[in-house]
């Protein structure tokens, strides 16, 4: 056994932790190597002294000092806690971190409600808040216009447009507008007549447009604009329904 290898085993040799084979190897090495034997003996003596090192006494008032430091620490923590509580007021809510947290929660809430894809009414109070924060887009009805041309005895006549909504759950505002092409200007139109009303479920609303001539698809465009608000000019038009004037021509032909 080499000296360096043996050195690694001295501790275990002195504690008796070596197995028999290694113990014999170390002892053989020590028997042959005087320096190693001297080192082990010295190590054993130091070891003995280490184990015999006396206990030192704690200083006077050691325990009292620990407890007073502990009390001071507890008092400091209490003061800090009280200070934190005292400075809390409503303005805390407007600190950047609190605002960020609130915004995150709102986004998560809205996203979650959106993801649920269920009737908001089923959400109870949450649904009320959600509707308040994000009003539902009304479902626009399918309209079935009825067209009629009433010829005046002298000149011109009246275009009667009967509008009936299908499947709407709430009243919907509608505006009927007839545009006529301006022959002198390419792609320009002017309003020949208009009327408006409110669609209720199952009832027909009639708009009458006095006109100089009987309108045709060649010269005119008839649109029905639906919106959820009674002042569509201030709000968005939710649906535009182009209406063909062909039935009117057929009627005339008939």
């Amino acid at each position: 056994m080499k000296r360096d290898s043996a050195k690694e085993l001295y501790s275990d040799y002195l504690t008796g932790d070596l197995d028999d084979a290694l113990k014999v190897s170390v002892e053989n090495h020590l028997a042959e190597d005087t320096d190693s034997r001297t080192e082990v003996d010295a190590m054993r003596r130091v070891w003995t002294q280490l184990d015999a090192m006396p206990r030192v006494d704690t200083p006077a008032y050691f325990h009292e000092n620990i407890m007073s430091r502990l009390d001071a620490e507890l008092a400091r923590e209490t003061e800090q806690s009280a200070a934190r509580t005292a400075v809390w007021d409503w303005r805390t809510l407007f600190r950047p971190r609190q605002l960020a947290v609130a915004a995150t929660l709102l986004i998560v809430f809205l996203g979650g409600v959106e993801a649920i894809q269920s009737q908001h009414a089923a959400l109870g109070p949450l649904g009320t808040i959600y509707r308040w924060l994000r009003p539902a887009t009304p479902v626009m009805p399918v309209v079935t216009p009825r067209l009629e041309w009433k010829q005046n005895t002298t000149t011109g006549g009246t275009l009667v447009v009967g509008v009936r909504g299908v499947s709407q759950t709430q009243p919907v505002h509608f505006r009927v507008q007839l545009y006529g092409k301006i022959k002198e200007v390419e792609n320009a139109v002017r309003v020949l007549g208009s009327g408006e009303g409110t669609l209720s479920a199952g009832e027909e609303e009639v708009v009458e447009l006095p006109l100089a001539d009987k309108p045709t698809d060649v010269d005119c465009t008839l649109l029905i604009m639906l919106s959820s608000t009674e002042t569509p000019n201030q709000g968005a038009v939710n649906k535009v329904v182009p209406v063909s004037l062909q039935p009117l021509t057929s009627d005339a032909a008939r």
Binding site: A42, Q49, L50, D51, I66
Partner: protein, 195 residues
């Protein structure tokens, strides 16, 4: 080793912030803690500060003590950490040159303070043997010193030292062996005092 039932009750009360329970608990450990701190630091004043800091940490962290290890082992770990933290701060403040070396035992890597203290033969005269031994211990790198103190002066087993220092038992054994050899070398100039 199972925890003493009375000690367990005290620990449970400490977890609720019971100051009087803590008072009783530290009485049973303060002398050992102070001795460990003294043997590690080699200074009575520093041992006092380390002990107090360690007990404050214990009070603050006792709620986290799960009882997986002995309370004494957990406590000694805190004392050792307080000592090592203070050593690190002291080294940073004094801007001592650090010597980094790799200890090739079970792939462990350690950073240790450079030994710039006078060799033992310069401090021999006029000191008692125990003082010389204490000074020689102080010349060891931190982790060797910790090994020597925990094993020889505190009487911890390899397993307990492994828990305190969060090392494997094999690492503890090899480091302890190296620490003993290193200590013997430090004492070589005064070997006549250790017949």
């Amino acid at each position: 080793m199972p925890i003493n039932p009375e000690e367990q009750i005290l620990i449970d009360r400490c977890k609720t912030g019971d100051r009087s329970a803590f008072d009783v608990l530290i009485r049973s450990y303060e002398k050992r803690v102070y001795n460990l701190a003294y043997r590690l630091s080699g200074s009575y004043d520093e041992a006092n500060d380390i002990s107090i800091d360690a007990f404050l940490r214990v009070f603050q962290a006792v709620r986290l003590f799960r009882g997986d290890a002995n309370f004494s082992t957990w406590l000694f770990r805190i004392v050792t950490n307080v000592y090592l933290d203070r050593r690190k701060r002291t080294r940073n403040k004094q801007h001592l040159s650090l010597e980094e070396y790799i200890e090739l035992e079970e792939n462990s890597v350690s950073r240790q303070i450079e030994d710039t203290a006078p060799t033992p033969d310069l401090v021999v005269e006029g000191h008692e043997r125990q003082d010389i031994l204490q000074k020689a211990i102080a010349l060891l790198p931190d982790y060797q010193r910790t090994m020597i103190v925990l094993y020889h002066t505190e009487g911890l087993s390899y397993e307990e030292i492994a828990e305190v220092l969060d090392l494997r038992i094999g690492t503890v054994k090899s480091r302890l062996n190296r620490a003993r050899l290193s200590l013997r070398e430090k004492l070589d100039p005064v070997k006549e005092l250790f017949p």
